[in-house]
């Protein structure tokens, strides 16, 4: 699948523009890092509350952070796509990139599960009580998988082909 996407991107006008614009790559990296801070920073608060910590926060109040989490994700989806288009042959065969994409997919499924099964019942939670087991599982899965995304993403320049 990644090879197919790589062959579509390679040699296209966007591919050439990214390769020829010398300042673009570092600027996209900076945006990618700011995006990850918004994404992970928001999720630390959302997930820790969901797991039963930080009970001073009303369970529902963490919904206010989600626009920042989503904005961080969108920034990184856009810059990440541009990285791939700019250097498709490097990413498509990189084992770090491939594992990272699987983890992002898992994080997406977990977020969907949060949206459908956990978020709707949060307003019924007892403010003082511990969180349901289901919510704890979703919260810790989220933090673990996103940490894996950070680690595998950072290792992309150092690991070999898949």
């Amino acid at each position: 699948m990644w090879n197919l996407l790589a062959s579509l991107a390679d040699g296209g006008s966007l591919n050439q523009w990214i390769q020829e614009t010398y300042w673009l790559w570092p600027v996209m990296e900076i945006i990618h890092f700011i995006g990850l801070v918004l994404l992970l920073g928001g999720l630390i608060v959302v997930d820790l509350r969901m797991a039963g910590h930080l009970r001073v926060i009303k369970p529902n109040a963490t919904h206010q952070l989600l626009p920042f989490v989503i904005a961080g994700f969108v920034l990184n989806l856009v810059t990440g796509t541009l990285f791939f288009v700019g250097d498709p042959g490097r990413y498509s065969i990189n084992i770090g990139f491939q594992i990272k994409m699987v983890l992002v997919g898992l994080a997406g499924l977990n977020a969907l599960f949060y949206h459908l099964k956990v978020s709707p019942i949060m307003s019924n939670w007892d403010h003082e009580a511990d969180s349901p087991l289901l919510a704890k599982c979703v919260a810790y899965t989220s933090l673990t998988v996103w940490t894996g995304v950070l680690l595998t993403g950072r290792l992309i320049p150092y690991v070999g082909t898949g």
């Binding site: 570092p26 990296e29 900076i30 890092f33 700011i34 990850l36 801070v37 918004l38 992970l40 920073g41 928001g42 630390i44 608060v45 820790l48 509350r49 910590h53 930080l54 001073v56 926060i57 009303k58 529902n60 109040a61 963490t62 206010q64 952070l65 920042f68 940490t147 950070l150 680690l151 993403g153 950072r154 290792l155 320049p157 150092y158 690991v159």
Partner: protein
């Protein structure tokens, strides 16, 4: 002194081992997400976002932020040790250190203001002007630290 540091067995291990440098970078990005993540959410809260999120939560999160800072101070020092004399004159690297120093000092000032405000039973929704300015400063220097940190690889 910097070359002495570079020639310690620890610094040589960081520079020469196949896995040390990438592993330290991987730790460094997790610490970055924790520190800059928690502090930027606190700053956004102080600047008026998340109206019903209790600000006291960030008093509890300071410990986690400091843990993230410790991870990055250690991993950062080890990364630095392997190319100390190069980095000591790198403008982006020195700018990054200044940003982090300002960000951490601001965090401690904000923490004491927050504790004082919560202890005196003031409405936790009311944030005074000075606190907001500190939050804006903090947000700017953490963004600055990220920009400068990334540019270390591009600008001498």
């Amino acid at each position: 002194m910097l070359t002495t540091l570079e020639n310690t067995s620890l610094a040589l291990w960081v520079g020469e081992s196949l896995w040390a440098y990438p592993s330290l970078l991987a730790c460094h990005i997790v610490g970055l997400a924790i520190v800059a993540g928690i502090f930027s959410m606190r700053d956004l809260k102080l600047l008026g976002f998340f109206p019903t999120l209790d600000i006291a939560a960030f008093r509890h999160l300071l410990r986690l932020a400091l843990l993230g800072f410790a991870i990055n101070a250690i991993s950062g020092f080890l990364l630095f040790s392997s190319q100390a004399s190069y980095l000591a004159t790198s403008i982006p690297f020195l700018s990054k250190l200044v940003c982090i120093a300002v960000g951490m000092s601001t965090a401690l000032v904000l923490q004491s203001r927050l504790s004082f405000q919560l202890a005196s039973g003031l409405e936790s929704t009311s944030v005074d002007r000075a606190t907001q300015l500190l939050a804006a400063l903090s947000l700017s220097v953490w963004v600055g630290a990220i920009i400068a940190g990334r540019l270390i690889a591009y600008i001498f």
